[in-house]
Symmetry: C2
Subunit: 525 residues, 2 copies
């Protein structure tokens, strides 16, 4: 596929007439052809109008048609072959294995959502049959199902150029729900975005769906995103990025005549609790493993472990020593783009300059690359220095070691919402874990034991979400099949005659759904 | 029970030191003892702090303990006997039968939520077992459940002094979810609120739950509500009332450091489509039945049928004649309070003064009471006069009759979100209904056939919700068991050892839950 630099509005490909920009090779800084033109407000309006026009026919399409479309999209992304990998590696600086793994995850996700569409429990069907003889009042026949919200605006993320971008989790779950999607490509990987966008566009065409089911817009600056969130046809927004960005989109959405939900996955420092038993049993091994998780992909994961909490002990000393040594071996990392590198370096410098914070290890540095950084402090310093709880996006970690268990407990209680909290423990730590768990549950979307938070499984039980500011909406997840629920709303049908009911609600249950009948979960027959 | 005029903060009863106010007899305007003192900001903070302190133990209580608490609350409200009915009738002007029915609904709702808590599907449990041999990466053990959000602020509604008030649907569903509740009583029925509040307070005590599970605050003016929504311990808000009120609470919630969801049920004109077959078959009977629905409870229902749409025909003429006659027989109605009566009279006067709108019938009028009003216009007038689509809370209806089917279709397409849309039809209208249904689904939370929207069944399949401005959040309902989902969020547990897992997630399934295991719905064994 040769890149043209055009945006994709429904079935069309056309050059944006706004500000021109290019992709860059993240490692060398070299500009990559072609040029992309930013979308105008008229382009946004056109894409959203097409999405609105596609909404009724797309949601009316059978689950099997929607599922086949998702599977077709997956095949077409697979078929992009090495060209996609090459371009994504160049634009992001991420290593080949990582991009290949991410592609596998992206197409696997599309296929999982295809299965989920067919399985159908997302429709949440409930039937309360009529009770004509009930006193004092008869009960009418009442049936409920979930239907899609409407067109969804999706913002590609810089740190996952495939899995959280043009055809990533937000797009897959919105399309699975029956919502057309208008994507704003992240300007740091326009070529990758165009390739995937063209695969999606081709899948829409081949599936015989209305063109407005998918559009892809390019743009630098805030104007495109603002116009997309403000467009009256857009009924929900998916975003993965910075806290400032997510909050800004939330404000635009709240200020609309009709406010809409914004699902923004924003900021998390992913605390790791190193309990005494685990440190005693394997402090050194944990220290080494920590650095592996911290520095993977130059630390550019939403779930990067940025904060460690522990009580001083010999095991902790072994942890710190091993981590410090591993840091010394850590290569300098190419970051996604210059802006992220600059923000990282500023954040690390601020940590280093903070009174009461000392360096516990540093990775190799190189011009234009990021050096990993590991710092230490105590609970009192952490408590009185609010910026120590801010995310520094990249391979920066902070250990808070304190002999005062109550001070650490207060620190945990005072944490903002997180995507993940990790606990390293052995059987000896069970009483402590049991005491902590109720607090951890209120702080994070995922609690994981004896692992590292980087690496998010796409499955049914995953939660990639959490209380504010990890996300703007703790009631949801952006990874896993539960993500479909973000784009649905319930509708009740009262006394609608059987032949006029939607398939999912008919007595004969032609879709073979699990349904709650009079409140009782009932198997399809 | 003798009323004291005190607010209930946890286990305490104390007099508010803010502005004093009283209930009034809605029919006579006479002041009703005792005086109530408005809560101060310190009172709000105290109630919310107690709620936060109660949150951990309350959510840790077993489903059976929570269910028994809800059942106990229902029994105690039942036990208030005639004293509650008398006071609620006096404070609201609603007839005895209506209040008795509403009490039955309120206690039935508490008992239904008790069942729902025990049934447990609200926990949405998903288990994805470990796949240690999967290539290239093993899958960890992942388990998901829903947990409660935290303390919830509930605003009592004026028009349902029991079912949408102190122990109404918002309170019942939040408590069922495991969230402590802080209620702001509606100042139009303080005595009713105190009685029900004391029943709730006694149920908390008798159930052995922490006192902060329930508090009840009184106040006039905006300060109390503002402080409640802004309190950092409050994690969600339930509200039923005016559009202006709901939007104001939404703005306060969005401006918090941590924005929180506001579930506001606000405004709906509940369109009724009179299809040609139905009018031909029973125009006169429908006209009479319409007036019955319009004038019930002086029209003070969120689902009051405020807009009728039809094509001119002999059947429509019969409808209009019969409706006009029935209007002539309609008694003047006592409204909930002076402010609502004044707003209704203003709204009716504005309708009557609108060019292109003519009266089709009027109910009896009386000093201090509301006369029902029925108006007619055409599609072009409706389209060019935006205020005709605004809710006039009370027994005011508007018929838009137009021979231009496309103009009516455009009108429907242009409607704002609604709680309900009603269709009157016969077999002859099926093709028209089938064409309309996809549009109606995008406009309303409930679609009902050959009935009237007043009367909302509390069951599993009910949706009392709908797109903005019917509610602030179309993804939910405020009536029926699905309402519990508003107060929940998912948490994922990764590689947590079996004995440390919450009950709902253990392999042995001690709660006997339906669970999705590897994506497959699985019965409890």
């Amino acid at each position: 596929m040769s890149l043209t630099g055009e945006m994709l509005i429904g079935a069309s490909a056309l050059r944006g007439t706004g500000q021109s920009f290019s992709g860059f090779d993240a490692a060398s800084g070299a500009e990559l052809a072609p040029h992309y033109g930013s979308a105008t407000e008229a382009d946004v309006a056109r894409a959203c109008t097409l999405a609105e026009e596609a909404f009724a026919p797309y949601r009316a399409a059978s689950p099997d048609i929607r599922a086949k479309f998702l599977e077709l999209a997956a095949s077409k992304i697979d078929a992009l072959g090495d060209a996609l990998t090459d371009r994504a590696c160049a634009e992001t600086g991420l290593p080949r294995g990582r991009i290949e793994g991410e592609r596998g995850r992206t197409v696997g996700q599309l296929r999982l959502f295809a299965q989920e569409v067919r399985e159908g429990s997302w429709q949440d069907v409930r039937l309360d049959p009529a009770l004509p003889d009930r006193k004092p009042l008869a009960r009418p026949d009442l049936r409920m199902r979930m239907i899609p919200l409407g067109p969804v605006g999706v913002f590609g993320a810089s740190n996952f150029p495939l899995a959280f971008s043009v055809a990533g989790g937000d797009t897959a779950s919105a399309l699975a729900a029956g919502c057309p999607v208008v994507v704003k490509a992240h300007p740091a990987h326009p070529g990758t975005s165009e390739m995937v966008g063209r695969a999606m566009q081709a899948a829409v065409k081949e599936a015989g769906l209305p063109e407005g089911v998918f559009s892809l817009l390019f743009g630098v600056g805030d104007a495109l995103g603002t116009a997309l969130v403000a467009d009256p046809h857009i009924k929900a927004v998916g975003f993965t990025g910075s806290r400032a960005g997510g909050l800004a989109l939330g404000k635009i959405a709240a200020a609309r005549h009709e406010p809409i939900p914004v699902y923004a996955e924003m900021s998390s420092i992913n605390p790791v609790l190193l309990l005494p038993g685990a440190l005693a049993a394997s402090g050194a091994a944990l220290g080494k493993a920590f650095v592996g998780s911290l520095t993977m992909g130059a630390g550019q994961f939403c779930t990067n472990p940025g904060l460690l909490l522990a009580i001083p002990s010999d095991g902790l000393n072994a942890f710190v020593t091993a981590a410090g040594e591993a840091m010394g071996d850590a290569a300098a990392g190419v970051m996604l783009h210059k802006g992220i590198l600059a923000a990282y370096e500023k954040g690390v410098a601020k940590l280093g300059d903070t009174a009461g914070v000392k360096s516990l290890g540093a990775g190799h540095k190189a011009e234009g690359k990021a050096g990993a950084a590991f710092f230490g402090t105590d609970a009192a310093t952490f408590e009185k220095t609010p910026h120590l709880a801010d995310e520094v996006f990249g391979a920066a970690g902070l250990l808070v070691a304190d002999a005062d268990l109550m001070a650490l407990a207060r620190l945990i209680q005072g944490l903002e919402g997180q995507l993940t909290i990790t606990v390293h423990m052995t059987d000896d730590d069970e009483a402590l874990f049991t005491a902590l768990l109720p607090v951890l549950e209120t702080k994070a979307g995922r609690i994981l034991i004896n692992g590292w938070p980087t690496g998010v499984e796409v499955c049914h039980a995953m939660v990639h979400g959490g209380p504010f500011p990890a996300t703007s909406d703790a009631r949801t997840t952006s990874v896993g099949t539960l993500a479909i629920r973000r784009f649905l709303r319930p509708v009740c049908y009262q006394n609608v005659a059987e032949p006029l009911l939607p398939d999912a609600l008919q007595d004969a249950n032609p879709q073979g759904l699990w349904r709650r009948i009079d409140g009782v979960m009932t198997a399809p027959v």
